[in-house]
């Protein structure tokens, strides 16, 4: 192997080794195409999501206070009714019979009292005459006492009859009351949302859930509200008066506006859930074009901070780094420093689905790298940039 060949090999190797250096010097490293924007003022609305349903605040489930067959039904499901309007009648034949019986008893007792009053008057006259004769010793003591006793007994009988009259009058009132309950009126103004009884069926006076005990449900459609369950971990951020956006499952593209009205004091384990939840009631202030029906499932987004403009950047521009061994976590963004990426530490505040609040660290005229995501994900300090300004 001669020196010439060795020199040639060394020359080739040197040239090959030099080419990458020359490439970098002439062409540089590839610049990464990124989008930049400056810090913008935005309303960051952190929110809590909760699910629930629509319900009526003012709703009455009517049931009968008397047992009887429904003879007339004056309304249908969906009808609008006024307060005091007659809704249905229960067959009152038995009640009428009881009424007549009670009235007859009252009359009989009244007659009885009249008879006794007449008898007392008669006895009082007899007593007066007997006293006069007794004073002139024309009548013995025994006869005088007999008349006195008869008068006293008659007065006691009269008292007893009067009490009996009061008793049958009370019974008459009771029958009248039952008779009145055979005609069922609407207690509120509203809409019949559920009609559970038909003509000919038996209405049963009961609070238990047996057939015939529930007649109908009347609700005030203007009192519809949203009831959601908020997890106990989130309830501390909820307050009465907070703005809410409600989406009914049946109308996913038509959000409604609402306001938190009530937060329960006591947590409960809701059906189908494992943790504790608090009931939150939300008034619907603007239903938009949505036709609200109670029982509809819905999703509420409760905004826990209201309408305050802060300095913000897109979420994807923020990089989170965590060092668990040192219990340290920090946030960074990349800024454009004359075509070179610089990693800058920032302090952050609240965030929503799209933006992160900047508490400190960045001037308003600094260009922040906001995308594309696949470049931002792999960006490193010192990378060359090909910048495209973006409006956010």
């Amino acid at each position: 192997m001669n020196a010439k060949k060795i020199s040639l090999i060394v020359l080739i190797a040197a040239l090959v080794i030099a080419i990458p250096f020359i490439n970098r010097a002439v062409f540089g490293t590839d610049a990464k195409a990124v989008n930049v924007s400056t810090v913008s003022q935005r309303i960051i609305s952190p929110s809590i999501l909760a699910s629930g349903f629509l319900a009526h605040e003012e709703e009455v489930m009517l049931s009968s206070e008397v047992i009887g067959k429904v003879s007339e039904l004056y309304v249908e499901e969906g009808d609008r009714v006024q307060q005091g309007q007659l809704l249905l009648s229960v067959d009152d034949k038995n009640f009428m019979a009881s009424l007549e019986q009670a009235e007859a008893s009252v009359r009989l007792n009244t007659i009885d009292i009249e008879r006794q009053e007449v008898r007392i008057e008669n006895l009082q006259r007899q007593l007066a005459r007997t006293r006069s004769l007794h004073e002139r010793n024309l009548v013995g003591d025994e006869e005088f006492e007999t008349i006195s006793n008869q008068l006293a007994l008659a007065e006691i009988d009269l008292k007893s009859s009067r009490e009996r009259l009061a008793q049958v009058r009370a019974q008459l009132d009771q029958v009248n009351d039952q008779l009145s309950k055979a005609r069922i009126m609407s207690p509120i103004e509203g809409v019949i949302t559920s009609l559970d009884i038909k003509v000919g069926e038996t209405a049963i006076a009961s609070s238990t859930n047996i057939p015939g005990s529930s007649l109908m449900t009347i609700a005030n459609p203007n009192s519809i509200y949203t009831e959601v369950l908020v997890d106990e971990a989130d309830v501390a951020n909820i307050a009465v008066g907070q703005r809410t956006e409600i989406v009914a499952i049946a109308y996913p593209d038509q959000p409604m506006q609402g306001v938190v009205r009530y937060i329960a004091n006591t947590a409960k384990i809701a059906q189908g859930r494992q943790g504790l939840s608090f009931t939150v009631k939300i008034d619907i202030t603007d239903p938009g074009e949505v036709v609200l029906r109670p029982g509809m499932s819905c999703r509420a987004e409760i905004f826990t901070r209201q309408d305050e403009q802060v300095a913000a950047v897109p979420l994807q521009a923020v990089i989170f780094e965590e060092d668990r061994s040192q219990l340290r976590s920090e946030y960074f963004i990349f800024v454009n420093d004359n075509g070179v990426a610089r990693k800058t530490r920032i302090d952050v505040g609240l965030s929503d689905d799209e933006y992160q609040e900047l508490v400190s660290g960045i001037d308003n005229d600094v260009e922040i790298i906001v995308g594309p995501d696949q470049e931002l994900r792999h960006l490193q300090e010192g990378d060359r940039l090909e910048v495209t300004p973006t409006e956010l």
Binding site: V16, I19, H378
Partner: protein, 242 residues
């Protein structure tokens, strides 16, 4: 027609390393040795091992997450296809990619060599030349040693990279694309990425060997050795332009 060939008895058997150096510095001598002693083991094992080694090194240092995104960015996929492909690629480990890269490099180079050898053997058989498959394969393998120069360049690029963000297209500094030949046309860009200086060098060596072994002129040597490449590049260029 039989061609005059160089007498085997005039060639001395040299050490494989000497032959390798001669391929790069004094190809005529190397061709004489190869014609007389068509060995294959040394060049095949050196080239395969060096390529596989550099693939191993490359996949050891590359930022795998970035590599997946960079690979997918070059394929025109919809968002849904992109996400699905990304998930599938990330489910494979970096080691799997390394093994695929190593095996792919080895199998790929062997496949190309076999195609070249079969083609040259067929041409020889049709022409009645006295060169057999074993000679052509040996020649292809020895001229393939020029790829060691590419491997050296790849090693330099890997050493210069500090963040693991080195694409497989930027790995070889001797490709036409990395030497400054760029095109907005994806087909032509693909050609520039596929051809590097060592491939051109290898083809020149093969043409020189063909002339020397078969005492032919340059026109025939160029036509026979480069014929398939000109055809393929021509077809690609035609579709790229139209």
């Amino acid at each position: 027609m039989n061609q005059e060939t160089i007498s085997n008895s005039h060639a001395e058997k040299t050490h494989p390393v000497t032959t390798a150096i001669n391929i790069l510095t004094a190809p005529g001598e190397a061709f004489t040795t190869i014609r007389a002693y068509p060995t294959k083991l040394f060049p095949v094992s050196v080239v395969l091992l060096s390529l596989m080694a550099v693939m191993f090194w490359y996949f050891s240092i590359v930022d795998f997450d970035w590599y997946v995104d960079n690979t997918l960015a070059q394929a025109n996929l919809s968002d849904a296809q992109h996400d699905e492909a990304r998930e599938r690629m990330l489910s494979m480990s970096q080691t799997n990619f390394m093994l695929l890269g190593m095996v792919g490099a080895g199998v790929g180079i062997l496949a190309i060599w076999m195609l070249q050898t079969v083609y040259l053997t067929l041409v020889s058989a049709l022409r009645g030349d006295d060169i057999k498959f074993t000679h052509w394969f040996s020649l292809v393998a020895w001229t393939g040693l020029t790829s060691l120069v590419s491997v050296l360049g790849m090693c330099v690029n890997i050493l210069l990279n500090t963040n693991g963000q080195l694409s497989n297209y930027d790995l070889d500094p001797l490709t036409l694309a990395n030497l400054g030949m760029q095109s907005s046309n994806s087909s032509i860009e693909m050609i520039f990425n596929a051809i590097n200086l060592t491939v051109i060098w290898s083809l020149i060596l093969m043409m020189m060997a063909y002339r020397q072994w078969l005492q032919s002129g340059w026109v025939r040597a160029v036509g026979i050795v480069l014929g398939p490449y000109i055809l393929i590049i021509g077809v690609l260029a035609y579709f790229a332009i139209t």
